[in-house]
Each structure stands twice: as C-alpha cells, then as structure tokens.
Amino acid sequence: MKNTTNTALPGPAVAPPGDLAIWFFILAELLAFGVFFAAYAFGRANNVELFNEMQQTLDRQAGAFNTVLLITGSWCVARAVEAVERSRSATGARWLAAGILCGGGFLVVKGFEYAAKFGAGINLSTNTFYMFYLSLTFFHFMHVILGMVILVALWWKTRQGAYGPGNMNGIESGAAYWHMVDLVWIVLFPLVYVMR
C-alpha cells in the first residue's frame, strides 16, 4: 500500500495510506476503545473474584474462532488492496467478498453467543462483569457492522473497476477502517476471554 503521491520520493511516506480523515477517525475510535479497555481492567481490579468466576461462563472457543475470522478477514482485505494496486480489480473484488464473508461469520458466531447469554437470562444488569462484557463487545459488534457496510461499498466499486494504481484512496481508507476493527479485537479477546 504505497502512498501514491510520494512514490518518487526516497525514504518513508509522509502520510499513511488512504485519506487522512479516516486516520483521524481511526485514532478517535482507538481512543474510545482504549478508555473502554482501561475501564474494564480497573473495574476488574475491584471485583477480581466476580470477574474470574464470570469469565469461566464465556465461550472461549467462540471468541478464539471469531479472532481467526477477523484476522483472516483483515488479511483478505489487505490482499484485495494489493491486487487492486496491481490493476487486478476482479481478483481484488473476490478478496473483498472473502473479507465480507469473514465479517459475516463473526456476526453469526457473536449472535449465537449473545443468544445463549440472553437465553440464560443474562442482561446488562446481571452484574458488573456482564455489564462490561455486553457493552464492550456490542460496541465492537456495531463497528464490525459498519466495517462490513464499507466493505460491501468497496466490493461494489472494485467490481466496476473504480480503483487502481493512482486511484487507491477510497479502497485504502475503507481497508484501514476494517483493520482497525481487527486490531481492537486483538486486544479485546485476551483481555475479556482469557486473562485472569
């Protein structure tokens, strides 16, 4: 993902791939998730026994599988950007479709997890752990949905050959957002599902 305006310059590119605006948006999102993670960690410090006990009721296998899906989805989108940069729009569109499938898989797995918890009568007021678990993962869930909307738009435009070398801004911006959704889950999974 080369910055197209700086390809002739030696040394590092001045700006990250994609639109600068998306990077400010990503930083704002990371800040929000960072605050959420810290709140969870310090909330746990005041209720260690409760958090350790309740963590055992989570489906760690589903969490790990969802990590695989998000990372694989991220890889698919990176491969899509690379293909488009080599003027291979059709290949790029296929990689984007694979990324969308991974995101959809994540939503389905998470949906089953939520259904199991709600079916067991668990809700936001069950206890502090579940208040954090449900709000934190749902906040992330919404970001996966937004990321998928962006990917569908990118897929549609890539199929039409809208992007290519010299016109990477749109696809690089959307891809960066999708990678952010993956990046956040990479911290969330060990913190909420494993660390005790």
Binding site: A13, V14, P17, F37, A38, A45, I71, A78, V194
Partner: protein
C-alpha cells in the same frame, strides 16, 4: 511495499499467535502459565499481533514514524494500563 508473500507470512504468524492465546486459556494451568506470567504473555502476544496488523495490513511500515508511533503507542499505552490494573488486583 506490500507484497503477497509478506501478507501471507503475517497471516500465518497471526494465526499461530491466536492459537497461543487460546492455548494459554485452555491449558495454561497445566503448563504453569498462570497469574502474572500468563498476563504478561497475553499482553506480549497481543502487542506483537497488533503491531503486525498496523505495520503490514494497515500499511504503516513504510510511513513516517509519527503514524506508526501513534498506533504502536496506543498498543503500549493500553497494555500498560491493563498491566497496572492487573497488578492492583493482585494486592
């Protein structure tokens, strides 16, 4: 800057790292990876993973340090806060 082999390699490393995180949760106790050791191992693994996503998938590897620094700095800050909170919980 971005090439197929590098992206595939990063994906394999990320998969192995995810397996390691899952294994700490499943068989950490049998292996003696518990408590602060497990916490440290999990944070190191997630830092390595997050760094690869930022550098290779997001494409920041060849970009000015400022941008890499912001994302890696976020990872370090979040990891530090989690470690501090974990340490407080031990007391």
């Amino acid at each position: 800057m971005m090439n197929t082999r590098q992206l595939n390699f990063v994906w394999v490393v990320l998969m192995l790292a995810t397996l390691a995180t899952y294994a700490i949760g499943e068989v950490g106790e049998q292996l003696g990876i518990v408590g602060p050791l497990a916490m440290a191992a999990l944070l190191v693994i997630s830092f390595v993973k997050g760094r690869l996503v930022a550098l290779d998938f997001m494409g920041l590897r060849g970009v000015k340090f400022f941008w890499r620094g912001l994302l890696i700095g976020w990872l370090l800050l979040v990891s530090a806060l989690i470690a501090i909170a974990y340490w407080i919980a031990l007391r």
